[in-house]
Amino acid sequence: MSIEIDHVNKHFGDFIAVDNVSLTFRDGELTALLGPSGSGKTTLLRVIAGLEQPDTGRIRFHGEDTTDLHVSKRSVGFVFQHYALFKHMTVFQNVAYGLTVKPRRQRPSKAEIKRKVMELLELVQLDWTAHRYPHQLSGGQRQRIALARALAVEPKVLLLDEPFGALDAKVRAELRRWLRRLHDEIHVTSVFVTHDQEEALEVSDRVVVMNQGRVEQDGSPEEVYDHPANPFVYQFLGNVNLFHARVHDGVARIGDVHLPAPEYEGYRDEPGQAYVRPHEIEVFSDRNHDGALHAKVELVSVVGPTVRLELRTDNSEDLVHAELPKHRFRELGLAQGGDAWIRPIHSRVFLPDSRVANG
């Protein structure tokens, strides 16, 4: 079931939460709505669910207008950040809820409900918790129950609001891989909201980056990460270094380093900002490399298998962040307080007035 969002606006008082957003989520796709807090992603998700009414604009499920349809009639599965399990019901009753509240004529028989609930609990690998209460389960288990409960009514679309936001790092990582596998099994159109770029890139088929109520970029995880549409997306999707640069006829110059910038073919000596990710900076321990800038190593921090360096170039106030594998760091024999030479190997230039060329 595809979801079409057609020029949707939503404000709360003076705050514009969703600013004229149009998007289409294709059938069976798992999409991440990614953005900082206050970017309108949760509001948009709630508008799709029917938990908020848009001020203007339409929502269509598979071409059918659902804008004015009550939440309870939309058959959406909604998973909340804080699980929202019914505290006074057992796990079994929670999962069965959507089936037991159906009108008598559509309600499956008791035996049928039981079979279905147990099947779902097996799917989320928690069939042994059927007679426990939510407070007896861990956060990760509760969220899996919440998901089973949402799936019990066979929703046309599955909406997840920061589903792993309240969990610790290890459980988060496990659960998002598990969600990806689950989605590959059941193939229901799913949208999940997150502010964690790693989560969005790892789990989803498609990433929609939002900021201040607007869509900044919409594309596959690779596209969004490798070809950010604008400075905001570039900065939001990971650490980045900014260098002064000039673009001239398809080439960006950062100091003495020349890097290809084919999107600026035909431009004449324009000043701009070059965005370079920490892993796109080469680090050397000697000066014999064309265009490499001299810098002092101010801080070395080892984070698992990678080493992060903070370097200061001779004529700059700003620190440069570089990242390299531990073995490479050992080969170079760099040390805190010592000398190094750095050279960007890839960059993306944006002109000051955001005249973005799409390469």
Partner: protein, 296 residues
């Protein structure tokens, strides 16, 4: 190395001991405070209670029974129960609706509403009675219109019900507002997305979550509705056998020097209050146990 770590651990234990003493009151002060509390409770609560029961039965069980079964007493009991049966459900509905509105919606005047809810506790009951006399009395704003349509509010059951509803207005709402605000609306939203209607959501999700707070509010409301005196005294007209509730009936008996009868009826009202407190304690105990279980 060893000696220094040893000395540091010694100084650490003395520090802890010191700290513990510093945050505790001296024993004599603890005993004094407990003694004051218990003496006060005994003098002003237990003793009067014993006096009520003693005086009620001072002329034997037959006199007690006669006092509470004479027609005027029975009429007062019936009227009191009637008022409770109307006032408590009215405040139940008002309390749930108000708490729902405050906890789940954003609207103008919400903070004003929350502060106004406590008004009935702040105003003296006599003043409450007078307010309604001004409104419904024959010289009042609505008096002429009411007498034209042959409607009787003052010096009749409707007037008594109105002042008691007013006086007990805050009980249920006050219990529920913080409870429902704390619980938020996620569970209700989850229920709606699962296809339940608003009514089913209220019945299956909201009500079980607020059940204990609701019962607690109803019990307090009930106790106050039975015991209300001042406001009722002003609006009821004190017609014996017709508009006297139990507290008013007791006063009438007392003023007529029928002390034993007055205390007999008082013992009945006190008994009802004790039953209410017993139920309240049970509810609290049950709620605490449930929360403790939930926390484990």
């Amino acid at each position: 190395m060893t000696s220094s770590s040893l000395s540091s651990s010694v100084s650490h234990t003395t520090l802890v001991a010191h700290w513990r003493r510093a945050t505790e009151e001296p024993v004599w002060l603890q005993r004094c405070l407990i003694a004051v509390a218990l003496t006060f409770l005994g003098l002003f609560l237990v003793l009067p209670l014993i006096v009520v029961l003693y005086s009620a039965f001072s002329q034997g069980i037959d006199a007690w029974q006669a006092a509470i079964t004479e027609p005027d007493a029975l009429a007062a009991i019936r009227l009191t129960l009637l008022v409770v049966v109307i006032a408590v459900p009215a405040n139940l509905v008002f309390g749930v609706a108000t708490a729902w509105a405050v906890a789940k919606f954003e609207f103008r005047g919400k903070s004003v509403l929350i502060s106004l809810i406590d008004m009935p506790f702040a105003i003296s009951p006599v003043v409450v009675g007078l307010i309604f006399v001004v409104m419904f009395g024959s010289q009042g704003w609505l008096g002429p219109w009411l007498s034209e349509h042959d409607l009787k509010i003052l010096y009749a059951v409707p007037g008594i019900v109105i002042v008691i509803v007013f006086g007990t207005l805050p009980f249920v709402a006050r219990e529920l507002i913080p409870l429902m605000q704390q619980q938020g609306k996620e569970e209700e939203e989850a229920s709606l997305t699962l296809g339940a209607s608003g009514w089913k959501t209220f019945w299956h999700v909201t009500l079980p979550n607020i059940k204990w707070g609701l019962i607690y509010g109803v019990i307090l409301c009930n106790a106050r509705a039975m015991g209300e005196f001042g406001a009722v005294a002003v609006v009821s007209g004190r017609i014996r056998g017709e508009t006297n509730t139990l507290p008013l009936h007791i006063e009438v008996l007392y003023n007529e020097y029928q002390f034993t009868a007055a205390f007999a009826v008082s013992s009945l009202l006190t008994g009802l209050a004790l039953v209410t407190i017993a139920i309240k304690s049970f509810v609290e105990w049950h709620d605490e146990r449930r929360q403790r279980l939930a926390a484990e």
